[in-house]
Symmetry: C3
Subunit: 180 residues, 3 copies
């Protein structure tokens, strides 16, 4: 076989490295002894059920959809892309629901809504323009490292779906996994 497989170099801190060489087989003595996988791509669209206005921890909902595929990646990146402009994805504290409630309080405090608000775009309701602004503040996409088949987040990190509209709506997320 002609592709060189994953090689591990140790250092402090250690890099996990993989290169897919184009060396001809006769200059590639490791190939026969260390097969290993090549680069992989996986992509699908998942749907998160409607959530009430506010911030919600959705790590487990997302992992339920992608875990079997995620487990095939030793090293890589997971990209989550929310296909909407009135909700957002962010990574924050995964334990105390008060943190999610306080974040919603903050967003409502700095983005005025209703009569006092200066918005021109009001056709879709008083909560619509504030929702667009909040979506750009937190963003609609996340990229998380994959290590040994898992999302390599910190102990206290979780994935939040922030629903900025009053009317709960199902939300689509395009998940793209890339790695080795």
């Amino acid at each position: 076989m002609l592709m060189q497989s994953s090689v591990l170099f140790s250092s402090k801190p250690a890099w996990v490295k993989a290169q897919y060489s184009t060396s001809p087989v006769d200059t590639n003595p490791m190939a026969a002894t260390v097969p290993g996988p090549g680069p992989k791509w996986a992509q699908k669209t998942i749907t998160l059920p409607p959530h009430r206005r506010g911030c919600h921890l959705v790590t487990s909902q997302i992992l339920k959809e992608i875990r079997p595929d995620l487990s095939e990646f030793k090293c890589g990146l997971a990209h989550l892309f929310l296909q909407h402009t009135s909700a957002s994805l962010t990574i924050n504290e995964n334990y105390d629901s008060d943190v999610r409630d306080d974040t919603e309080t903050f967003l409502n405090k700095i983005v005025p809504e209703g009569r006092s608000a200066p918005w021109k775009h009001t056709l879709e309701g008083p909560d619509d323009m504030p929702a667009h602004i909040k979506s750009s503040m937190f963003g609609c996409a996340l990229t998380v490292p994959i290590t040994d088949g898992k999302l390599n987040m910190g102990t206290w990190q979780g994935i939040w779906l922030c629903e900025h509209r009053d009317a709960p709506t199902a939300r689509k997320v395009v998940v793209t996994l890339n790695g080795i």
Copy 2:
């Protein structure tokens, strides 16, 4: 040939999957019948012409520069990186220009400018420090999934360039495409 090509697995929802195997040819019966492309990288720097202070929909300007190359990717990620610290890139509503105007109104409302502002960094003008803050609020980079040769955004999503300086300036964006 020794590389295994794109394989499609169906499920609900379906994953699009591709793996480049290092299996020796004799264990790779599909290879001869399903060649298909391997992983690809493409990168270039594009220049967006000067835009007045405010939020601007630039999806079509960007697609004009990258569409032919984008169309070569069945599955992947497109990364857009604005090389500036007084403008930003965000994804938001692509239809009503009032949404862009209201977003500019919001940014000017929460980031004070002029005499009332507490900034120390004023050498480059009263709009400069607020521009830096707005740039970090919305960010200077976007990653968008590529599916079947197109940016896989939602129906109402578009790419915005937010120009935070008073003096319109051409802005450089490094575009990196990666996929299969």
Copy 3:
């Protein structure tokens, strides 16, 4: 050998392109003459020493950890992921420290702290809930293009670590490099 190596197409602006073909060797005349590297992945966790509350330029600290590996990539993406929920990573001005101080002033101005603050989550101190909010405002991850072995940032761009807690803490960053 069966893999086709990096090919450069010139245009205005020029794309740097690379494709790893699955074409059988007899249809791949370039292979023997243009070997070149295949796709590569490298990942490690680095630790940034404790920084006082505020915004700090950490480009050189990060490059010190990754430069030798970064130099192996002709074209790719560098992903930095902060494994914490009370600090953030952002890209902004790399020259005048007043810009970092003014940004910290802004964050403290819009996220109330102490008696006047409406937060429910106060067990970990008055600076904790504001820190979580600031972390989602600026985000905990960055993706930067790699070109010719270097981070391809603009002249005035630098990587900032924003420490939102009063008590300085060491912060972990998972760095993932992917490219050719």
